[in-house]
Symmetry: C2
Subunit: 357 residues, 2 copies
């Protein structure tokens, strides 16, 4: 049966890196008879230009119909002056919320071939392989009220609300435990329970869920300590589960530990493992259109899609092996290049992965 | 005229490190004729044991009367099972709020003598000297409502509120600009304006305040990017100003970049530069009472007190020089010790600083 994939190249380097991922996907499609059918649309700035809004209703409908979504990256200076509510990021937040993609998986993996790229000492990060599970459709990103009031003294006060319900916490905690079970069976739940009411409920519910996972070792850590421990000794972590805002901060910090954010994919899943897949990096408008961008994070996001949404393990393994092979061949885009390696363009990197596959 | 200093040793290693800071302070007091008079009381767990609450009214009154407060550290497993509202941290949050200590200064300095202690590569952190200015009495730490409700479907929902008013933002922005002016004239304001309403007001007010500081170069950065940039290239920063929660996370991350959190002091100031001074590290209950703790952060907090609350620049310089001297002598407590240096106890370290002074 045909599987439809909605492709949203987005802005900045998005279209370039997506073009390479599509080449790889088309080859995998033939080789493994995946039956993929690609549909194309726009999100973010490109959608503002085409539809006047960062996520058009018809695009959302296409996303609902599709079996999976592959996204490039959104945003850029062209749309920075717009009101927040119609800026590119709103399209991203809206598609996450509307599709119910509450489970965001962000691996931070140090590729042995790129060990030097990290700003941390090699012994601190060699072999690093962490998975951050971030709650993606709740918390302060979406809580109401969110408003600006005028106080009696005439000054303005703006506020956001950070709500979490038991069911929201329970379902993301389960994702965390399930992932830990597939890995090294260690889950660290990060919160700020010494200050926040929502974190206290978070901790309580995570403890409840833990009863169903006696084989997983659970720990709790305050977010400020987690931010420190990621710098001090990141290899102490296996899976981290945390809320939307803490996950935003910690996953970016963790990805930077590897020094190769251009290599890191992510998945955002709903309750049925339908998902949207995108690289961890942004749209990098400064290098857009120059053939400098690293397409590997998008290619690896595609392989996460094969794995999580379609259970195509053999195809996913093959794509990941192909990426590893091109690194072994010494090919590097500018962001991961160092003395002694061959500097290649976005397209050359994509072609090399195709050849390796 | 006599100046009264309220000493709150606190819990865990607090009393040990405070004892050393007091020795140094008494000597500085004599040498520079500071006219200090020391008053002692309890905060946190020790206050729970003595008064039944983490901050007694009479202690708060003493803090109000005092010209400055010097704090060790609070918290420990003994009090972890208590309800959140009467736990040690509550005493800390309450004294901050009640004294109006909205301006929290957290330097992250890499001492050249301790360059190896960092988990980052030497070229990334050598010479690091950042100041994080954290808003300390507002935002999600204190916002109302903060509550747990039962929803119609019977499940609980907990929520916190993140409010900021223009005047709260303005006064902390001013601290940021003032500090930048005394340093390298670069201020980076960190927010999440692409998502949070409160961050949009934050950014707007910081821009307004900037008009009074044309000599300071202002930039804005999203908090997730800041968490990355601190790992990638921390020396790009001079002063960072940010809200209470982001400041909690980023200042801990930044302090860990130095690898020597046992060295880092902090100051929390009110509108008149009256302040509370404390080390950045916690109460480390696991090593309490063993003479293993590093007293230098507390000694340096005392020297920040001399500088900011009493404008005793010569005395502050002398204390800092004494600390640098003992490091030059090769003395190290366990947390900063490495092969080839002399491992000393808490007391030996304090004595050495006294001798150097
Ligand atoms: C663009 C922004 C709204 C988004 C977020 O904060 O979630 C991004 O930082 C991310 O992590 O995907
Ligand atoms: C103990 C805790 C409440 C406190 C905070 O979050 O402010 C601490 O982490 C700090 O940074 O001083």
């Amino acid at each position: 049966m045909a599987k439809s994939i909605l492709i949203l190249p987005g802005d900045g380097i998005g279209p370039e890196i997506m073009a390479e991922a599509i080449k790889v996907m088309r080859l995998a499609n033939d080789k493994y008879q995946l039956g993929f059918e690609l549909i194309f649309d726009e999100l973010g700035g490109a959608a503002i230009d085409k539809y006047g809004v960062p996520l058009a209703d018809e695009t959302l409908e296409r996303a609902r119909q599709a079996d999976a979504v592959l996204l490039g990256a959104v945003g850029g200076p062209k749309w920075d002056k717009l009101e927040r509510d119609i800026r590119p990021e709103r399209g991203l937040l809206k598609i996450r919320a509307q599709l119910g993609l509450f489970g965001n998986l962000r691996p931070a993996i140090l590729y042995p071939q790129l060990a030097d790229a990290s700003s941390l000492k090699p012994e601190i990060v060699s072999g690093l392989d962490i998975l951050i599970v971030r709650e993606l459709t709740g918390g302060i990103y979406f809580g109401k009220p969110r408003e600006t009031r005028v106080l009696e003294n005439g000054e303005r006060l703006s506020l956001d609300t950070l709500p979490y319900s038991e069911s929201e916490i329970r379902r993301i905690a389960k994702v965390g435990f399930d992932m830990a079970r597939l890995r090294n069976k260690k889950l660290c739940s990060v919160d700020k329970a010494n200050v926040l009411e929502s974190s206290q409920l978070w901790r309580e519910v995570v403890e409840q869920v833990a009863k169903d996972y006696p084989d997983v070792e659970l720990s709790h850590m305050y977010v400020d300590n987690a931010a420190m421990q990621l710098v001090r000794a990141p290899k102490q972590f296996d899976v981290i589960v945390t809320d939307n805002m803490f996950g935003d901060i910690l996953s970016d910090e963790a990805s930077m530990l590897t020094g190769s954010i251009g290599m890191l994919p992510s998945a955002s899943l709903d309750a049925n493992n339908k998902g949207m897949y995108e690289p961890c990096h942004g749209s990098a408008p400064d290098i857009a259109g120059k053939g400098l961008a690293n397409p590997l994070a998008t290619i690896l996001s595609m392989s996460m899609m094969l794995r999580y949404s379609f259970a195509q393990t053999a195809a996913a393994d093959a794509v990941e092996q192909a990426v590893s092979d091109v690194l072994d061949q010494g090919l590097r885009t500018g962001d991961i290049w160092s003395e002694g390696y061959s500097k290649v363009s976005t397209r050359e990197m994509g072609d090399a992965v195709v050849a390796a596959l």
